[in-house]
């Protein structure tokens, strides 16, 4: 079985062409972008104002299974804000209990594809609750700051 190394004659084997062809195949078969990623990006781009900061989903190993499983705690962070949400599945809907750190009475919105937007305001402890949120492609927006310096932080569009 010398299909990979040890070809006779000391010639480099597998040669450049074979390796590049392999890599090309891997890009499509082993490591393609997730099938719904384009759709999720397109959903994120349907925001009215695109001048936003996208928070990162902080995944701990123990949460590896949370994505898409419809329940559990998820943490998103951006430079100076952490958004934690706890999902509770109730029938076909979700209840989202959230917590902003640092706390502030910020306006919070949740967008769900094909279901529009629900909004609320966090209390002074940074807590908020969004009830009866349909499941699906979801994004949470937090509007920070005052009139003079308004910023919007969004979570990545995820399927909850």
């Amino acid at each position: 079985m010398n299909d990979v190394v040890g070809a006779p004659g000391g010639k480099a084997f597998p040669d450049d062409e074979i390796l590049l062809a392999d890599i090309g195949r891997f890009l499509d078969e082993l490591d393609p972008p997730p099938g719904d990623l384009v759709e999720r990006v397109q959903f994120a781009l349907a925001l009215e104002n695109l001048d936003v900061e996208v928070a990162r989903w902080e995944r701990l190993d123990s949460q590896a299974g949370v994505r898409g499983s419809g329940t559990g705690t998820i943490t998103f962070t951006v430079s100076d804000l952490t958004v934690m949400i706890n999902l509770t599945k109730i029938g076909k809907l979700h209840r989202i209990d959230g917590w902003l750190v640092p706390a502030g009475q910020y306006s919070v919105e949740v967008r769900v594809a094909e279901h529009g937007t629900t909004s609320t305001t966090a209390d002074e402890g940074g807590r908020f609750v969004l009830d009866n949120v349909p499941r699906g492609t979801t994004q949470i927006l937090v509007h920070l700051g005052d009139v003079s310096c308004r910023r919007t932080v969004v979570t990545p569009t995820v399927v909850l």
Partner: protein
């Protein structure tokens, strides 16, 4: 008549490809045309994805970075006047996002082995297939052990060789299908990794 109603009218980029398609879409997107934005995203998300993956991000973090890069592009599209600069902009911005403190590498090494491990089950198969899957697994492992710089260069080389990604070749001043000296060294390194891996014979 709004745009929404005129679905039977082909958008101005219909039938265009490559640089012309991107130029037409960028022009329309600057005027706020969502369809044009969607088209660019559909065309070029694989490019952004592979640059993110090549820069050490696991698949889930790469997903977030892809979204960040696209939002960044469309929120400052006015600054990018030259459509020819699009690929270079996407590549540079993705790299920067990938090395951003928040782009932390959750699981530095094993992430891609995981992909390799899942291969046999993806290809449940007779013996020939199993032999091929085993070979693929070894080649993939060698690939993901390359330095990020090499992984990125090789991924981009492969993409640049495809007609729809001519813009990558242009951005990298890379004649299509060619393998330059740096790429050659990366491939040599990949062969060394393959040879040194146990059970490669």
């Amino acid at each position: 008549m709004t745009d929404v109603q005129t679905a039977e009218v082909d958008p101005p980029w219909e039938g265009l490809t490559g640089a012309e398609l991107h130029a037409a879409c960028m022009h329309a997107a600057r005027a706020g045309d969502r369809q044009a934005m969607d088209r660019l995203v559909a065309e070029l998300t694989p490019l952004v994805w592979h640059v993110a993956r090549a820069n050490g991000l696991d698949r889930t973090v790469a997903e977030d970075v892809v979204q960040t890069v696209w939002l960044a592009l469309f929120s400052q599209l006015d600054k990018l006047r030259d459509p020819k600069a699009l690929a270079a902009w996407l590549i540079t911005t993705t790299r920067r996002e990938a090395t951003h403190p928040y782009g932390r590498r959750t699981q530095p090494v094993p992430l891609s082995d995981e992909v390799a491990e899942s291969m046999p089950s993806m290809n449940p198969a007779p013996e020939d297939e199993a032999v091929r899957a085993d070979r693929d697994r070894r080649v993939w492992r060698a690939f993901v052990r390359l330095p990020d710089r090499c992984q990125e260069l090789l991924r981009l080389t492969v993409l640049a060789g495809r007609a729809e990604y001519q813009l990558v070749a242009d951005a990298l001043r890379m004649p299509r299908g060619s393998v330059g000296p740096t790429r050659g060294r990366c491939l040599d390194q990949m062969r060394d990794l393959l040879a040194s891996e146990g059970g490669s014979r």
